[in-house]
Point group: C2
Chain length 184, copies 2
Amino acid sequence: MRILGVDPGLTRCGLGVIDASGGRKVSLVHVSAATSPSTSNTPARIARLADALDAVLDEHQPEAIALERVFAQSNVSTVMGTAQISGVVMLAAARRGLPLALYTPSEVKAAVTGDGRAAKAQVGYMVSKVLGLTEVPKPADAADALAIAIAHAWRGGAAPLGNTASTAAQRRWAEAEKAARKRG
Amino acid sequence: MRILGVDPGLTRCGLGVIDASGGRKVSLVHVSAATSPSTSNTPARIARLADALDAVLDEHQPEAIALERVFAQSNVSTVMGTAQISGVVMLAAARRGLPLALYTPSEVKAAVTGDGRAAKAQVGYMVSKVLGLTEVPKPADAADALAIAIAHAWRGGAAPLGNTASTAAQRRWAEAEKAARKRG
């Protein structure tokens, strides 16, 4: 399954496309960070990011979109722009008939690193390892978009983890996910 | 000038179109409140409201959009949906090349009633008087959308008020607007 992960933001919007096959295998299809200049007015910035989103959707034809969930409680100065972009991503998903899933930052961290409170650098490191990349995608928004797509691939499908997890690592992972959901 | 006022919301989105001619003359072109069922998922709800917005834009061809400004500090449970819809309205404005202006609720109240803290009923009453309607448009979101359009017509153009305001009523109005801007 081809998945587009989106790390929404008005200044930088991470866009990462992966292919997920059976088990936990994932591979990189595309990664970028769309940007908009803070000197433009907000409608022009939103349109610019929407154009970049449409271009990725047209070129790579993902079958699902995974989007970071925005909270009103987070950084007040950026949350409104982030919510506005999220609305645009949701509209694009609905108009193209693509299923859209939302993940909190801690759910993504838990899925990719096993720790819902992992540092950004650790998420980037795991993304590069899992996708077999020689370096961490930059900027962080690009790596985060891939992490969101990976979280969707792993949580949504092939190898769900839960109470049946058997190894110690899998149990820690399941617990981190559970804790992340509680915090979310 | 034809103006579309939008009172954004995920459950109900007010859409009001007016024609503004010279001086303070305004007339009703269209008013409605687009709704989306809370049982649907958010992308489907956003798409439904976006379709209603596009229909009004296509049919009435406004030359400008006035949108209520959303604050992260307001009601947390509804602010994210409101911000998402705002993003969609801004995208529509940018893609159609329409100028978009933002007004705080108190700016709108000040422009339409002369009091930045006027009650909802007072705003509805003034909207009906100013547009020569026999009754107040319902629901409140519809009346609010018209109030936002009227605020844009009056503030943006024909009869700007400021220190040169001469009558007592105009001075009170100017002061209310100034206070509203400070609070905004």
